[in-house]
């Protein structure tokens, strides 16, 4: 690293147990004040990042929740569920009953992944029905339904200015779409095997981090169509494990793994710098706090907890 400061390891801070089934997703809000976790127990729980105590339990879905996303102003959460709907919740609602704002209907199978656009006037969702849908937040109207893939869509993400959407699927492809016209702009990966389990734009929108079910994470430059970095050492063969960028104190790639650990790699050197142990099942999702050096991770059914890790100050 250019800075020369030695790497400060993350230590386990707290374990949050409140879900009664596997936790599928954790995300910090963009302002860092709240943490949301989604679970197969059909609920979404909102925690305070500071006190790590439960604030809301959002009930309403009739089947497990696979993914959630925060709006840019941290006011709304959108959850994607196996009951084929997406729900928009008000995270600041005074009472839990009034938190549900809207239900988005249209998918014909499990909704697997969801994200807000950076301006948060659009929501993109990917589903087991092999389509990607773009919704208008204000009215809940579905603006586009794209027949994007030939197998379930595992991941969708907007780039920084909202003009592009990247989608990944079990059919082994990773595609880039123009969000305003819903047309295909580029196919990044097109091998039938392995399945692409996750894709996400870098903070500046120039690179895409792609996870494939052959224990590999790659950082692609999508304009040249070549990958620049490979990160390996973890186990990822079955589940759609999310990974993310950690930029608050040096640049790292953070990912969950099927060997129950959270892996951290140095972005440039590609070397693994730490393995966080503690979960008792696959770590399916990780999220980094936007300003503090904190990581939250979620475990599947054998674990059912959300763990918080922080760097010693």
């Amino acid at each position: 690293m250019a800075s020369g400061t030695p790497y400060k390891p993350y230590r386990h801070l707290k374990t949050l147990t409140a879900h009664t089934r596997a936790v599928s997703c954790v995300k910090f809000s963009n302002d860092g004040t709240l943490l949301a976790s989604a679970s197969l127990d059909k609920t979404v729980i909102v925690w305070s990042s500071q006190t790590l105590s439960l604030v809301h339990r959002l009930v309403g879905h009739s089947d497990g929740v696979s993914d959630l996303a925060w709006s840019s102003d941290s006011h709304y959460i959108c959850s994607a569920s196996d009951d084929r709907t997406l729900r928009i919740w008000d995270a600041r609602a005074a009472a839990t009953e009034s938190a549900h704002v809207k239900t988005l209907r249209g998918h014909s199978d499990f909704v697997f992944c969801v994200n807000f656009s950076p301006q948060s006037n659009l929501i993109v969702s990917g589903s087991f029905d092999e389509t990607i849908r773009i919704w208008e937040v204000k009215t809940g109207r579905c603006l586009h339904a794209i027949r994007a893939h030939t197998m379930p869509v595992t991941s969708v993400h907007f780039n920084r200015d909202g003009s592009l959407i990247v989608s990944a699927s079990h059919d082994g492809t990773c595609k880039i779409w123009d969000s305003s016209t819903a047309t295909l702009l580029k196919t990044l990966i097109d091998d039938k095997v392995p399945a692409v389990s996750f894709a996400k734009f870098s903070p500046n929108g120039k690179f895409i981090l792609v996870a494939t079910l052959n224990d590999t994470l790659k950082l692609w430059n999508y304009s040249t169509g070549k990958f620049l970095k490979i990160y390996a050492g973890h186990v990822n063969r079955v589940y759609c494990i999310t990974s993310t960028f950690s930029v608050t104190n040096g640049k790292y790639i953070v990912s969950g793994s099927e060997d129950r650990c959270v892996y951290l790699w140095d972005l440039q050197q590609k070397t693994m710098v730490q393995k966080l142990e503690g979960h008792s099942d696959t770590v399916i999702s990780v999220t980094c706090h936007p300003t503090e050096n904190k990581i939250a991770s979620a475990g599947l059914d054998g674990d059912r907890t959300v763990r918080i890790w922080a760097q010693d100050s």
């Binding site: 009930v59 009953e97 704002v101 249209g106 047309t183 196919t187 500046n204 950082l219």
Partner: protein, 548 residues
């Protein structure tokens, strides 16, 4: 903010109607600086702000005091304010984010056009062009008006008496005079009824220069391009003329003063003409020599490469597109309704036109997907290329069948944080916060669904296919439900609006012009784009897609 993979060659000019917006009867439109919001003035005195990305209404500015038709709409430079002029002689200034009315000024005559000073982010001065007198500068805070000179008297040094009853050359004061600010708001360019362009310093109300327009016909419109490099005039002799602006952008006034001093030996009109010749030069003229059409609402494209003009003939909706070199590249034809306003999107190749019936038509390129989009190693070739095969290409056991080496150095530093600057907005003053989007607040679902959410219940599952008023339904195999015959959906939000169901006649007419054909690739036959027909909501309309 153009992603590098969006094909740059596709950024040309629009070809077909992509969608139409409907809400009341809209009369005039204006894009904000980045083209993310579109403001539309209606015949009932309201101003609607459309979110151009979602094609939905972002905000409505309603004024109970104003029920007369809006004649023009103008954004402030960074999108925080909107100035609206109406047929009841009023000028209203609104704050966009709060939706509050800031000032309201009443003039002596109905302003046909009102423009905020582009040089300031919170402008208090505006330029108003009334129906039948000289254009004036209005101070929105005090309400005071300053008339601008519209012609140069034969004697004198260029200042004009403040009377507005008659022009000093005796022409009757009925012809509206066109005027516009230059890019930085320090000069005003006026096109008068004698076919002259006057460059006026609005602070001293002095004519600094004069440029005669060949043909001497009445100037009906005068417009600058977005980058301030070109000026367009639309004259009564059915010709659109393009001038190149020779003055420097930032210090136009200073440059004019310098020119003034260097030409000291000349006097009066001669001097103004000489200075004028150093400010503008005629670049091109456009006219339709066959139909000798009058033009309406001409303007430049966002990058100044194209010029569009609408046909002023009643009963037809034609938009002519020229490139700046003067060649007519396209004529867009819409449904048979007269065109009343036209605007080109600041960034994208999209044109928005307003028809007499109050609809706003959005024209865009006919999007065809590149074949190269379908596979990572597909490349598009402009023309046939000679293929030179590798040395061992036809060998039974080629040498190079070993590991394909990546020609990328994997140890290079990758920068994931720095942003690229957007060249289209190079002059943006980053210290000013620009208003690009209005916050999208999801409107709550109808209450009956809300009480079901306290405990998880199975009732929600089977309501998937029953009519949800707010989301679109498309069958899983890609067919879109034809909403033309289903009853109109009620708007659950309550606060919104009068959305009318379109008679299918209009829908059919537009469908005839729609060109969204299904695109199939040989290899990946299931990769298609589907736009969902959205005929319930009057706001947006996508053409029907043929399913596979």
């Amino acid at each position: 903010m153009n992603a590098p993979i969006i094909d740059p060659l596709q950024g040309d000019f629009p070809e077909v109607i992509e969608e139409y917006l409907e809400h009341g009867v809209m009369k005039c439109i204006a894009f904000n600086r980045r083209g993310t919001l579109l403001a539309a003035g209606c015949s009932d005195g309201n101003c609607i702000i459309w979110d151009f990305e979602t094609r939905g209404i972002a905000k409505e500015l309603r004024d109970k005091d104003c029920i007369a038709a809006i004649t023009s709409v103008c954004w402030s430079k960074y999108g925080h304010r909107i100035l609206v002029s109406a047929a009841d002689k009023s000028l209203t200034l609104w704050d966009v984010v709060s939706g509050e009315r800031l000032t309201r000024t009443t003039l002596q005559q109905t302003p046909l056009q009102a423009r905020l000073n582009p040089g300031s982010s919170t402008p208090s001065l505006c330029l108003a062009c009334p129906l039948s007198s000289a254009p004036m500068i209005v101070d929105l805070n005090t309400g005071s008006t300053t008339m601008l000179p519209v012609s140069i008297p034969d004697t004198g040094n260029g200042t004009v008496p403040q009377s507005r009853n008659k022009f000093s050359d005796g022409t009757p004061p009925f012809t509206p005079t066109a005027a516009c600010f230059n890019k930085y708001g320090d000069l005003i360019y006026v096109g008068n009824s004698k076919g002259e362009i006057l460059i006026i310093d609005h602070r001293t109300v002095q004519v600094q220069a004069m440029v005669p327009v060949s043909g001497s016909a009445v100037v009906k419109n005068i417009v600058f391009s977005r980058n301030g490099q070109y000026l367009l005039t639309n004259s009564n002799d059915r010709t659109i003329r393009i001038y190149e602006n020779l003055l420097p952008f930032k210090d136009g006034l200073v440059a004019l003063d310098d020119l003034d001093k260097t030409l000291n030996e000349l006097d009066g009109v001669e001097k103004l003409k000489a200075v004028g010749s150093k400010c503008l030069t005629l670049f091109r003229e456009f006219q339709d020599s066959i139909t000798k059409m009058h033009w309406k609402a001409p303007c430049f494209s966002g990058d100044g490469e194209w010029v569009i003009g609408g046909s002023a003939s009643k009963g037809e909706h034609k938009i002519y597109i020229w490139d700046r070199a003067g060649h007519l590249v396209k004529i867009l034809e819409g449904p048979k309704e007269a065109l009343i306003d036209l605007a080109w999107h600041p960034v994208h190749p999209i044109v928005v036109s307003v028809s007499l019936t109050g609809f706003v038509y959005i024209w865009a390129k006919d999007y065809t997907e590149n074949w190269s989009a379908f596979a990572p190693d597909f490349k598009e070739l402009e023309e046939n290329e000679e293929y030179v095969e590798r040395e061992d290409e036809f060998d039974l056991v080629p040498e190079t069948e070993k590991v394909k080496e990546s020609d990328v150095n994997e140890d290079d530093e990758v920068d994931i944080l720095t942003l690229e600057k957007n060249s289209a907005f190079s002059d943006s003053d980053m210290s000013q916060e620009e208003l690009c989007f209005l916050p999208a607040i999801p409107s709550p679902d109808v209450p009956e669904r809300q009480d079901k959410c306290v405990e998880s219940s199975s009732k929600l599952v089977d309501s998937n296919q029953s009519g949800s008023p707010l989301s679109e339904e498309a069958e899983p195999n890609g067919h879109t439900t034809n909403h033309a015959s289903s009853p109109p959906e009620e708007d659950a939000g309550g606060s919104r609006m009068k959305r009318k169901r379109k008679p299918s006649e209009k829908g059919l007419e537009l469908q005839a012009e729609k060109v969204r054909k299904p695109k199939s690739s040989g290899r990946l036959s299931k990769v298609k784009n589907k736009s969902v027909v959205d005929q319930d909501n009057g706001n947006g309309f996508h053409g029907d897609d043929v399913s596979d």
